[in-house]
């Protein structure tokens, strides 16, 4: 690569990074400002005080919410991985009539607007007694068309010989699934795991609906709790909460970026 091309690329990279990261950095900066500073429209705080963070943790049980979000996200992640991989396994390794039709049915679920299903789902959850516990927060999300699709693409790359070899050896189907297919698809599972963790972590409306107590509420609700309507919002505190809320997901993303990218692409391409 020629020198000029190299430096233009660097220049573009840096410029793009600055533009893209600006909102996050801006929020970070505001999270250290006092109320007056925020209203003056400053870009940089005059001093870095953790006042806002302390306030944020004081105002709502943010720590508790963080733990709930974490537990819920992990739970959904595990559930999605299991349910999706079971389905994907059937779509790849078990031949039966009508398989493609069912697969199409799965894919079509991606098109159902979530808002349209919320009220009936809430009533269902209520009938099942899933209000105010992790069941309601998590189980409705265990089945995921996108995840099934992603894993199906991955499973398709597993040579059929592996399956046949285990058939000859007399290994049961489930054992093959558990001991071979899953470990071999680690990358995609991690990808899907990160993806489901992120999406679950970021849910707001549903958790609000199905929880009535702080015991199981999540950080996104906490974020909403910081903002007020009729009286002034304390922006510094809200931004502090924003930072607290996005920090874990950003961290997760940074750690899993490589795998995520690899896994997502496998799913994207036939």
């Amino acid at each position: 690569m020629s020198i000029t091309r190299k430096w233009t690329t660097y220049l573009l990279l840096i410029a793009a990074t600055l533009v893209l990261m600006f909102p996050i950095l801006y929020a970070f900066s505001i999270s250290f400002m006092s109320g007056a500073e925020v209203l003056e429209g400053k870009i940089w705080p005059s001093s870095f005080s953790f006042e806002n963070y302390r306030d944020a943790f004081e105002k709502v049980p943010l720590l508790h919410y963080l733990i709930n979000s974490f537990a819920g996200s992990i739970f959904v992640m595990a559930g999605q991985l299991l349910v999706s991989s079971l389905a994907a396994f059937a779509f790849v390794f078990i031949k039966f009539k009508g398989r493609d039709a069912i697969f199409f049915l799965f894919i079509s679920t991606m098109m159902i607007p979530w808002e349209a299903t919320m009220v009936p789902n809430f009533l269902t959850a209520q009938k099942l007694g899933w209000i105010n516990n992790y069941l309601g927060l998590t189980i409705p999300f265990f089945a995921l068309a996108f995840g099934t699709f992603l894993l199906r693409q991955q499973f398709k790359t597993i040579p059929n010989e592996l399956y046949e070899a285990s058939q000859v050896a007399g290994i049961s189907r489930f054992r093959f699934f558990w001991n071979v297919v899953l470990p071999v698809s680690k990358t995609s599972l991690v990808t899907l795991g990160v993806y489901s963790f992120l999406t679950t972590w970021n849910m707001y409306l549903w958790p609000l609906l199905v929880t009535n107590t702080e015991d199981v509420r999540t950080v996104q609700i906490g974020l909403k709790q910081m903002q007020t309507q009729e009286i002034s919002t304390d922006w510094g505190v809200v931004m502090a909460a924003v930072i607290v809320v996005i920090l874990p997901t950003l961290l997760l993303l940074f750690l899993g970026q490589k795998r995520l990218q690899k896994g997502l692409t496998q799913g994207a391409i036939k």
Partner: protein, 426 residues
């Protein structure tokens, strides 16, 4: 949701044997902190009842949820609902009027601020317990008044004065306006108040208090006055459009983008704290001084669910009574900026001290007390209020797009009528 579920539920008890009262609210931020403190004190003050406050999102979100769980075991004992949800709650059949407990208990409601509690009274029956109430006030920048050669102690009272003052307050550099004279949030409530303060009715049938409303009335003379005011000032360049967001509006005031605006009385204190200038508060303006009827309240009240056990109801009532005591109301008023339901609260020391520090607060209370009790200031009762508000907001917004005030109002009225029609079919 079969009606069968409205049978009395079992009384939920806490581990220590106290009766559990679940209390859903929409108070976020500092308000939630204050509310939690009050609840805490109540819980500690006795050993029979344990109130559990639960934040349920915005008023709308909270009500949606209440609507779906009302009558089941997941329903709360006490539900906080915004003022425009009143009719909806009454019609839902999922609540019991507090009048029942007032009667049982021979509770003296005369200690309540009449102008507040009357909003929640229908056919002489008290449906809910007033809790956090506010009214609109005119807030202005005293420093800017001085600078513009206006008397900071004599803010505009009528539309004409307002227009004149706004003209003086508007500062322009070239074609760029650095300070606007006046602003109103694009929020239905302010429009309703502007109509009510002139004695205008929002809907027919005495604002819906003498039977189900069927037609919108807000597009009459009073409503047109209000829309014309906005339209005229906007055209003159003295009115600034701050949108729908309370925070944006206050930010604009605090950063001196606007010199006067209408705000909720509940927001005054923080405003005074944060503004880098002297803040003045006055009554909401009217077209002519003789029109002044006062204001209707905004805010929310507490409702008692149906289908909870008697024991729980009693416990919830006990808590409601506690909330209405002057001491608690004083604290609530001081911390939140909302009115005290019980006027005796204003005689409490902490309130007096607070008023010394924030004389602006007293103005808000005075405005409320001077209000003449009429169907207009009592507030409208319609089930589709939120929807109607959206239509009015859209109407206000369309003003800035150059739509004629009358046309904008009529459109909003037409759509409200249809919503009423649909609702009345149910």
């Amino acid at each position: 949701n079969s009606t069968g579920s409205s049978e009395a539920q079992e009384t939920k008890k806490t581990a220590s044997g106290k009766t559990e009262v679940v209390f859903w609210h929409a108070m976020s931020g500092d308000l939630e902190k204050s509310l939690n403190k009050i609840v805490d004190e109540y819980n500690k003050s006795q050993d029979k009842v344990e109130v559990k406050p639960v934040f349920q999102g915005t008023y709308e979100e909270a009500q949606t949820k209440f609507n779906t769980v009302a009558g089941t075991k997941d329903a709360p004992a006490i539900m906080q609902t915004f003022e425009v949800g009143t009719k909806f709650m009454i019609d839902s059949g999922k609540i019991q009027p507090v009048q029942k407990f007032i009667d049982q208990d021979h509770y003296d409601t005369s200690q309540w601020e009449k102008n507040i509690s009357s909003y929640y009274q229908v056919d002489g029956k008290q449906y809910s317990m007033p809790f956090n109430s506010s009214t609109p006030v005119l807030v202005y920048n005293k420093d800017a008044f001085k600078k513009a050669g206006l008397d900071p102690e004599n803010p505009p009272k009528t539309y004409d004065e307002l227009k004149a003052a706004a003209k003086k307050l508007t500062e322009k550099q070239g074609n760029k306006t650095s300070q606007y004279g006046f602003s109103i949030l694009n929020y239905g409530w302010f429009f309703e108040e502007l109509v009510a303060s002139q004695g205008g009715l929002y809907v027919d049938h005495e604002n819906g208090r003498k039977g189900d409303a069927e037609k919108a009335g807000f597009n009459g003379k009073e409503g047109q006055n209000a829309f014309n005011l906005i339209n005229d000032m906007y055209k003159e360049g003295t009115f600034y459009n701050v949108g729908q967001n309370w925070d944006d509006m206050r930010a604009a005031f605090q950063s001196k983008k606007i010199a006067m605006f209408l705000d909720s009385s509940a927001g005054i204190k923080t405003l005074v704290d944060n503004a880098p200038f002297d803040v003045g508060v006055s009554y909401i303006p009217v077209p002519k001084e003789e029109d002044r009827q006062g204001v209707a309240i905004g805010g929310a009240s507490l409702w008692m669910s149906k289908g909870i056990s008697d024991e729980t109801s009693k416990a919830a009532w006990d808590f409601m009574k506690y909330l209405a005591t002057p001491e608690v109301q004083a604290k609530w008023h001081v911390e939140s900026g909302y009115f005290a339901v019980n006027p005796k609260a204003y005689e409490q020391d902490i309130v007096k001290k607070e008023w010394e520090k924030y004389p602006q607060l007293k103005v808000t209370v005075d405005q409320l007390r001077e209000t003449k009790p009429t169907p207009a200031t009592q507030g409208a009762l319609i089930s589709v209020f939120p929807e109607s508000r959206q239509k009015v907001v859209t109407g206000m917004e369309s003003l800035y797009q150059g739509v004629k005030p009358k046309k904008a109002l009529d459109q909003a009225a037409k759509e409200t009528n249809r919503a009423l029609e649909v609702a009345n079919q149910k």
